[in-house]
Amino acid sequence: MSNRRSRQSSTASRISDDQMIDLVSKLRQLLPEIGERRRSDKVSASKVLQETCNYIRKLHREVDNLSDRLSQLLESVDEESPEATVIRSLLM
């Protein structure tokens, strides 16, 4: 189904300035690096996009690290231990 979608939209898409600015502004608000700055500071769309990529990469790294950590933690969990009880109780 995603195939059909991508084919559809791979034809040239038209987007207006306003639309572009609107979408990029939304992204900017999410970025810790530049989203917190004063509103009056204008940031170039290019900069926002660059920071967006960096931020997603950073989040991916964090998820990777946390996955490793959780994997280690789970390995150390004994089936009869309190952690296992916690996990079970969270599942119920």
Partner: protein, 230 residues
């Protein structure tokens, strides 16, 4: 315990929902549903409720990883397991998105693909045909819409650079490698918030687990979540 062996994310989703509804009162569920529909799309991933839903799915997914890999415990398996956890965490995130976004559907579809062919999915490096056609006329003076103070500058000269960056961005968001500019930007907006929630949820779960493992040997350890009801 029966639900732990269930490997289908959508059906476990249903199982969980059923359990939730029977556990919590129906009135509280209604109010939550109302507040969700009232809230802005942007707030979707930021609610505590969403994080709780995700945490539950994550724990469930992690249990499956544990069960499936408990037989193998050699040292190279540890790395594999980290990856398996990562995949499980992403799948849980995609399930939490309930198929409303391209990125979440892509994660789930990727998993099905992996099921049939075991090799890694080839990274699409093909350059998607994206052309940003900007309306003619000066960019800032004749706005048809309400004049909002924009916080973003759109430099006409940097359009090729912008396009390039959007394409890079599209490759970072699952399933968006070949999407159009507006779709990539919208998906990225949602995806970032989902990732933030994922990091938060995984962090608190890791903290919880480590606090329990440390409190079993020594004392202390702040409890982020209430103690297990026994």
């Amino acid at each position: 315990m029966a639900s732990l062996t269930n490997l289908n994310p959508t059906s476990t989703d249903l199982v969980r929902k059923k359990k939730k509804s029977s556990a919590s009162s129906s009135s509280s569920r209604r109010t939550i549903a109302d507040s969700v529909s009232d809230s802005e799309i942007n707030a979707r991933w930021r609610s505590e409720k969403q994080q709780r839903i995700y945490s539950a799915k994550l724990i469930q997914a992690l249990q499956q990883v544990r069960l499936s890999s408990s037989a193998v415990s050699s040292s190279p398996a540890a790395q594999k397991r980290g990856k398996a956890v990562r995949e499980a965490a992403d799948r849980a995130l995609a399930v939490s998105a309930r198929g409303r976004t391209i990125w979440s559907r892509a994660i789930l579809a990727n998993r099905i693909k992996l099921k049939f062919r075991k090799h890694k999915r080839p990274r699409t490096t093909a350059i998607p045909a994206i052309t940003t056609v900007v309306s003619t006329g000066s960019s800032s003076s004749n706005r048809s819409k309400k004049r909002r103070v924009s916080v973003v500058r759109l430099n006409k000269k940097s359009l090729p650079a912008i396009n390039r960056k959007v394409r890079v961005l599209g490759r970072l968001v699952p399933g968006c490698g070949k999407q159009s500019v507006p779709v990539i930007l919208e998906e990225a907006t949602d995806y970032i918030q989902a990732l933030e929630m994922q990091v938060k949820a995984m962090n608190s779960l890791a903290e919880l687990l480590s606090s329990y493992s440390s409190s079993s040997s020594s004392s202390g350890g702040g409890s982020a979540l209430p103690p297990p009801p026994i």
